[in-house]
Every structure is written in structure tokens, then in C-alpha cells.
Assembly symmetry: C2
Homo-oligomer: 383 residues x 2
């Protein structure tokens, strides 16, 4: 419709917010920007397997939603989320509906908590390595990220993924959770309990969520991305009402409301029991993949390489001999057709260059042996 | 699953960001929170008419998307938006695809522009009255909003809705746009051209968009909310690449990517030509509503009341005699079953309490006469 001949040169730099230099690119998203994932064996992303998506149910689900809600599913919705979905989530957790805010993805949950709580110079406490998307968010508000400790100045909040941590796959024990709550009480700060993987447990016993130990100071973030489909950008925050009230007001100006049709689809999927039925299939699928990756690592990795043994989630964490630099090794790996994420990206100080995050949910099961043996070979050649 | 007995008292206030006191509730969204819209005659919201939604096409659209893209439609997507949709939007505007960023609603477009550009104390220039969602966003970053003027310190950007402004319904002439560009060049600042209603023209001639006059300094925001359905939260930003690059990085931490299935639905709707066919129907529907509201105002409003005559969009703007306070009148109107938005909410200084915004897209056509005559009666009784 319009033709632009050229753009006049302009100095944009001077117009940017003072936050912009603290913006951090996600190395993971940058990989996706440049590389055709389907052409390589990618252990890099945190993508769920498409085999777990209820693809064939979607058309019927859409029809049910439209029959039930009609044009309401296509109209603007409430900023807090559609009541049907909030109620279902509230009852799944046993909390009052007033304590549930739907978010446009659980990444938005992290962002809006940061937005409502952080000023430049504030600090957040977190155990390194830390989920990249959270580091990006904290840094974008110019907050510093320090290790969790009873000492030092009080942070605004402590950030954790207690179940099947991204990136390590590890789970906090009840004792560790109680200790964390004690530290939060000492600092009189909040806890952001990021919990996108909680339902993905393949072995071991479930541990009490932190929000149950300290409901007055916990913002619990949940997501449909791993138990339904990430293409529907729907998450939730459960938290104390005075904090949720500010999050609600903030969310009005962020995007008015979460995607409405997506919310009704999620509500229908959850409310009909299909989510739980699909979850059984997902768990068995991912359990096999985890077990396969663990056995392949055992089979192929040279000595001096160790890894975590996660009870759930999507990731495990490799520690290589000290002299190996996974950042430097990355281009070589990519050129041979295998991708991972260098572990140092998850450290606020960029340390631990001998570690890497490995995702076991995305690579097709028949490609896994080829990928792991190739990676082992690349590592062995670098020893 | 979990039972919370009670929450310990806690002082949350001290943990909030210094931005929080500047958060502003949307009086419009607050109305929706408290009032059952279907029970009253609401000229308050900016909701499109459900009659314009392609409700019956949605199941087929969903099926086509799933046939064409399969599980890609349910997976995480690129932060910039899915390529298919970006290309279609780029070609509709005649711009390179690199200059198109998909956003999770055009409200997110406003927010992310503010986030990337504004610091506390910065200023934005805008003609009052100003769209509420924009005011909320600017204030949440503690920026001040001043009238557009060549004088005074340079703002970071000038914000306008040049076509069928929310709230007044007015359209800027080409001369006014050229003058605005001249002022932006003088300040060497950007222009945020918020354009969600541009395609909704019912009479008169289309005016050149500002981004065509000054592509190097214009961030053009578009939306599917008024030409498809707002329940799919999909908008876009077209702008100079150096600014888009920062918006892209910021968006990674905001929500990773826009809703993916929604984007493919929008791409299919646009690419198949169905959007343009549906738009014809929408235009004729809204043209009748606008004409009806104008004639009803003429018929019922007491003398001393004047209003704008918009050539498109969803709103018109009433100016009442000086002694009438539309904020004070609001509860009375609501109790009698009619709602509007007091005009002073759109003024950064809260002035112009004798004005109101009227929406003509949402109220069913058969209810309009009752609503307008009732409102006229309430106003006449207050004279």
C-alpha cells in the first residue's frame, strides 16, 4: 500500500530508556533465530515435544468453546482472566479465586512481578544457575541478582524453580524449601516460586510447594505450556491479594487481558479432564526420553563428565572437566549438527564455562542416540 | 489440592516498585469489573460489536491452520512473530518484513514502546484528550504527558491516534500530520502512531499515515482487534529497525512470543481475503450505527450539547454545558441503566468534566434509541 524509499539517518540511541543497555538477548532465542532447528539435533531449547500436544483434539475443543461461549470467546475479556478458567485453577490448587490472576504466559508472570516490585539497584536472590528468561527480566529492570543467603541487604524477592529446575533439573527438598522460607522471613521479602514443570514428575515423591509453606509471601507462577501447548500463551499467578491487585492494575496497561479464546480452550481442556488424561501420556513419553538420555550419557560420555538425574521436567545439566569451555565449543557442535545451551549463560557472572544444559523433551527419540554420541565425540576430542 | 488457612499479615507496600504509586486504574475496566454489561445500555467500552466477528468461520479457520501448520501452531514461536503473518502485514503496508514486529495486542505495542523509551521524568507529547490505555502506560513509567508543541524540552516521542481518535473520533488532516512531523523533527523525537481504527472508515477520504511522512521516526501500531476479533490478542509494530531490535529483545522477557495459534488464525484470515470481505460487512454495520447515533443525538439531546461527527472508528465525543459534571452524573446514569466514560479521565490533568466519550459499536442497534433518550433525559434534568 505504501512505498518507503529510504530512511533518513537518525540517532536512536539517545532516545532509549536507561534500562536498554541492561537488556540481555536470550542466547537460546538467538540460536532459534539463526538455525533451522529441524535440520539439527537440538538439545538447546526448552520446547515440549509436539507428540505431547493434543493436536487432534483442538478442532473439537474449538467447536465446544464456540458452542458454549459464542462470541464471548472472541471478545475482549476481563483483565484478571476469564472467570471459568480462574475458578478451575483456584479449585485445582485449593485457593480462593480472588488469588488467581491469569497471565499471557508464565514468562509474563515473571515480568509483571518484576515490574511491580523492582527498581534499579534493587536485588533479587536466586540460586545459580538461574533460568535465562528470569535473568533477562530482572536485568531489564536493572536489578542485581545475588545468591540466596540470610546475609546482606534484603532482596525484594527470592526467585526459585523448586521443581525440576531450569536449567539443572534438580528439585528442592522439603528441608531446603523450609530453609528458603526462613531466609525470606528474615529478609521480610517475597518469594517468586516459578513452577512451570511441577506436573511433569516421572519418578520420586512430590514435595510441598513453597506457596503452601508461606502463602503470605509467595507468588506462585504456573503455566499451560508444558501440560497443554505453549502456542496458547496462558499462565497464572497465585499470590496474596495486595500484590495481585497491583499486578492486575499493571496488567491493564501491559495487554488489557490474556488471549480469550486460548483461555476458554485451556479451561475446556482442564475442566473436561482431558488435560489429566493427556498428562499421563506426556509423563510416559518424557519418562522414556529422560531414561534414554541418561542411559546414552552413561554409554557415550567420556570419563570426567557428570550430570544430574532429574525426577521430572525437561532438562538435565552436564558438568565437564574444568578445561572444557562449552561457549567456545558451541560453534563446532553446531557445525556438526548438534546444539545445547552453554551453562555459563545461566550464571549472572558468566562463570561455570564447563557446564551445559541439555533438553530431553524436544529431540525425536530416534535421533537421540546419534545426537548424544556426536556430542560425546565432540567433548572427547576437546579433552 | 492445598488448603490455606489464613495469611499472616505482611507489609507489602514497602516491597513495591517506586512506579506503583503511578499506576492508574482504567475507569473503563473498573466499570466492567463491577457492572454486568449485558444488563445495561453501555456506551462506555471500546468493544467491537460481536456481530462483526467471523464466528461461524472460526472452526473452519482452526482446521485449516492445523492442516497447514500442524503442531507448529501449538508450539512456541519466534519472538518477532510467525513469518507467515509478518510477511502478510509487511506486504499489506509495502514495508520490508524486517520492519514488522508482532505484538500480543496493540496495547502491548504501546507498553513495549514506553518500556524501551521512557525513564522517570521523561515526557511524552500528546493532544488531550488522550487514549486511557496510553496514559496508563506512560504514567506507569513515571513519564509526564504534555500537549504537543514546538516549545519546551524535547519529549521522547509524540503519541497520536491520527485516524478516528479514541476518545474523540476525530481525524487529523494531512496538514496537521505534516505539522506534527515538523514538530517531531524539531525535537528530534519519535512518533508513536497508534492506528487500531484506520481500516474503519465510513465516509470521507483516507489521509496519508504519519509513518509514510516520516518512516525514520515513526512507530506505527496496528491491531486485529477491530478487523478480526479482540479475543485473539494480536497487534503489530512497524518501525525503524534499530528501535525494533530493542523492542524484540525486550519482548523476549515480556512473554517470549505472541500467541502462536492466534497468529496463524489471523494470517489465514488475512491471507485468504476473508478479512477484507468481513471488513465490508463491518463497515456497513458500523456506518449504520454511527449514523443512527448521530441522528438520535440530534433528536434527543437538549440544546447546549454538541458532539463530534467522526468519519470512522468506534467513538464520538460529547461536550455538555459547563455546569454539568459527567463524573458526578455517572452513578445516576448507571443506576438508570446507561453507561458512558466521563471525558475528564482522558485528560492528564483531569479537566473537561463537562465532556463524555460515547461508543457506538457495542450497544445493540435496537437498544440505541432507548439508551440515548435516557441519557439525554438525565443530562436535561441536570441542566
Amino acid at each position: 500500500m505504501y512505498i518507503f524509499v529510504f530512511l533518513q539517518p537518525m540517532d536512536y540511541q539517545k532516545l532509549f530508556s536507561a534500562d536498554v543497555p541492561s537488556f540481555m538477548r536470550s542466547p537460546v532465542r538467538e540460536i532459534f533465530r539463526k538455525v533451522d532447528l529441524s535440520a539439527i539435533c537440538s538439545f538447546a531449547g526448552g520446547y515440549p515435544s509436539a507428540d505431547t500436544f493434543p493436536l487432534s483434539s483442538i478442532p473439537a475443543l474449538a467447536r465446544t468453546v464456540l458452542d458454549k461461549y459464542g462470541s464471548k470467546a472472541l471478545q475482549y475479556g476481563a483483565t484478571q482472566g476469564v472467570p471459568e478458567l480462574r475458578k478451575l485453577i483456584a479449585s485445582r490448587y485449593g485457593v480462593p479465586v480472588e488469588r488467581v490472576q491469569i497471565t499471557t504466559s508464565s514468562q509474563q508472570g515473571i515480568d509483571v512481578c518484576s515490574r511491580v516490585l523492582l527498581n534499579p539497584g534493587d536485588s533479587v536472590m536466586a540460586h545459580s544457575p538461574v533460568y535465562l528468561g528470569a535473568l533477562q527480566s530482572f536485568r531489564s529492570y536493572r536489578a542485581s541478582v545475588r545468591e540466596i543467603s540470610p546475609d546482606g541487604p534484603a532482596p525484594k524477592f527470592i526467585y526459585v524453580i523448586p521443581d525440576f529446575n531450569n536449567p539443572t533439573g534438580e528439585t528442592m527438598s522439603l528441608e531446603q524449601r523450609e530453609e528458603l522460607v526462613a531466609i525470606a522471613r528474615l529478609h521480610d521479602c517475597l518469594i517468586v516460586e516459578d513452577s512451570p514443570y511441577r506436573e511433569l514428575r516421572y519418578s520420586g515423591e512430590s514435595v510441598t510447594p513453597i506457596m503452601e509453606l508461606a502463602p503470605e509471601r509467595t507468588l506462585h507462577l504456573g503455566s499451560f505450556s508444558k501440560v497443554f501447548a505453549p502456542g496458547f500463551r496462558i499462565g497464572w499467578i497465585i499470590g496474596p491479594e495486595p500484590v495481585l491487585e497491583q499486578i492486575y492494575i499493571c496488567k491493564q496497561s501491559l495487554d488489557l487481558c490474556p488471549p480469550v479464546m486460548d483461555q476458554y480452550m485451556a479451561a475446556e481442556f482442564l475442566g473436561s479432564g482431558e488435560l489429566d488424561r493427556n498428562l499421563e501420556h506426556t509423563l510416559s513419553e518424557y519418562r522414556s526420553r529422560r531414561d534414554l538420555m541418561l542411559s546414552l550419557l552413561e554409554k557415550y560420555m567420556p570419563s570426567g563428565v557428570s550430570w544430574t538425574h532429574p525426577e521430572g521436567g525437561l532438562f538435565l545439566w552436564l558438568t565437564l572437566p574444568e578445561n572444557i569451555d562449552t561457549v567456545a565449543l558451541y560453534d563446532k557442535a553446531l557445525s556438526r549438527g548438534v546444539a545445547y545451551v552453554a551453562g555459563s549463560f545461566f550464571y549472572p557472572d558468566g562463570s561455570h564455562r564447563n557446564t551445559m544444559r541439555m533438553n530431553f523433551s524436544y529431540v525425536p527419540i530416534e535421533k537421540m542416540e546419534g545426537g548424544i554420541s556426536l556430542l560425546a565425540d565432540i567433548i572427547a576430542n576437546d579433552l
